[in-house]
Amino acid sequence: MRKTLLLVLLSFTVLSSFASIKIGALLPLTGGVSAFGELVKKGIDLAREEKPKVLGQDVEIIYMDTRSEKTEAANGMARLIDQQKVIAVIGEVISGNSIAAGEIAEKKKVPMVSPSSTNPIVTQGKKFVSRVCFIDPIQGTALAEFAFKTLKVTKAVVFTDIEQDYSVGLSNFFMERFQKYGGQVLQVKYKSGDQEFSSQLSQALAFGAQAIVITGYYNEIALIAQQARALGYKGFFLAGDGADAPELIKIGGQAVEGLYFTSHFHPDAPVTPVTKPFVDAFMKKYGTRPSTLSALGYDAYMIIIEAIERAKTTKPELIATAIRSIKNFQGATGTITIDQQGNAIKDVVIIQVKNQNFAFAAKISASALK
């Protein structure tokens, strides 16, 4: 009896007792958004395979599940730092969870790099929390830039989903830049879950819209596009990365053909020399093309390794400073510069629906978005 007990206890002892550099990965691996966590994990695993060593030591990644919840995100972060003694953390995916975990990282002075939390509040007032994705306002500005400069649109109608902070923020920043250029904007509102948009659309048609900008998520975008085409609308459709889901085409069909949307990444977009090797390696390892989240996870890992190499130390505080001073880093999703607020400044990719597929259309460079 005692022997088996001892065996069971022994079996739980983790092998990794020898010296290695520990990096935590705080991800929603189960629960509501576990699909997102899995995608990021694939990117991190691939990056770890490519760069398994830093400063001559092995890098060990310790995954910590947050079950897509805030309480667990806070506890998981504290556990990574206090018990596992990690020197940096990749995570979380969802903005709300990143805010909770970021508080702890800040208090403990351990750098945290979020792959995909785009809410501006995540890094606000923080010294140790950074991210490799651009924030929501950047997308709005990029859309305005693209609409006015490339598509030569001067009259746009903005559809805002008032239930999503993401959509409200995106709309505000689009209108700000678009009006600065002298464009005319009409804003109409709807709510997530709405099915009928004819009143908003007749307003848009009366306004003489050359472009309809829908800042919500794919479901409503597809419905609005269909109903607009049925009413005889012939102009452009523009959207944010809320459109980035295969369901957009499934629901929208021919109506979303030609729609443009902003995104962080596209496998065909050769934004840096790193993109193609990354896509090939990903295909070889997993048999599918990488999604945006995998690419962002890959970049988050690479940025941390780069910062450790630059800092030439494993002291968390110095690594945090090094992360904030990264400039023009060649990542899979673009050339990344981390600014003083910890936000990534990088190119925005514009994707177009072509022949019922997502195709790379254009790149808005970071310098145009200031």
């Binding site: 983790v14 990794s16 995954y63 556990r79 501006p120």
Partner: protein
Amino acid sequence: MVTAMRTMKEKTRRDLTLTVLFVIFVAILLQVANVKFDSYQKQVLSLMAIYGIMAVSLNLVNGITGVFSLGHAGFILLGAYTSALLTIPPEQKAMIFIIEPAHPFIANLHTDFFTATIVAGGISALGAFIIGFPVLRLSGDYLAIASLGFSEVLRILALNLQSITNGSLGLKGIPNHTNIWWSWGWLLVTVLFIVSLVKSSYGRALLAIRENPIAAEAMGINVFKHTLLSFVISAFFAGVSGSLYAHWLTTIDPRITTFGPVLTYYVLIMVVLGGLGSVSGSIIGAILFAFLMEWLRMFEQPFTLFGRQYPAIQGMRMLVLSVLFVVTMIVWKRGLFGRAEITWDGIRKLMKKFRRSGSR
């Protein structure tokens, strides 16, 4: 008769002394933990007490009064938002309300943590009174559904009142006031209040209502008034726990994973695990829940068994936890404690039994 009363009095005095000694003992243990533990362990220790308050307050309604309510998360949310808006400094509020500026009344509010917690409890109690007045006339499943609906309504309100709650962006930068002393101190207050309530004539009435509402009514107990009372008190402490929770987490949002029905179910699990109707059971249930949730994370690390290395399996700890709970409920059908409480008499009897079997 007189001697019997005297022994009764002596016994209460003895129990009181023992209780005070026990509280001091726990306080010393907590002080030791405060010095020796790292901040992760302290964080979990605080969470145990916060869960404890949630469980004990829900137990008052569901276990002691026998009214099945599923609206606990709503009251916790109400408390969390109220206290957070009271303690976040005005300059921080100006920073986080980025879509729509905060309502001028909200923007300038500022109090200390203790006042904020009391106000949070008060607002939750008020909410319970307003919703309880119509809802408590329902019974059984209807009440459960109505209270569940109420808590969802509160969550949707928090999602849409942009200038008050910052909508879906949530609140951030809540000062991290909750420490071991605040959380365990409030747990002590909660337990003292609810135990004395149960031992008072009100409590006896509540127990009578649980056993048979019709008979209780016939005995002259105003069933509606008493259930409303227990509902309001329960909501007060739920509000307090919400305040502690917000200042523990330092950020809150109205998403379904934060204050949704899942939170109510978690609290319900703690209560049922410990034994529906038992205050001590609720506390043990809450402590076990918080402890296991973190401790079982070791099942999600890579491990070696008989010399073979296995990769980490995510989600394993929830599986283990569920199995543990199922086994517990099979072995102890009414939860760990059933309706029984840990009492000094019980402990003495247990020790006597132990000593007798030891001497044999």
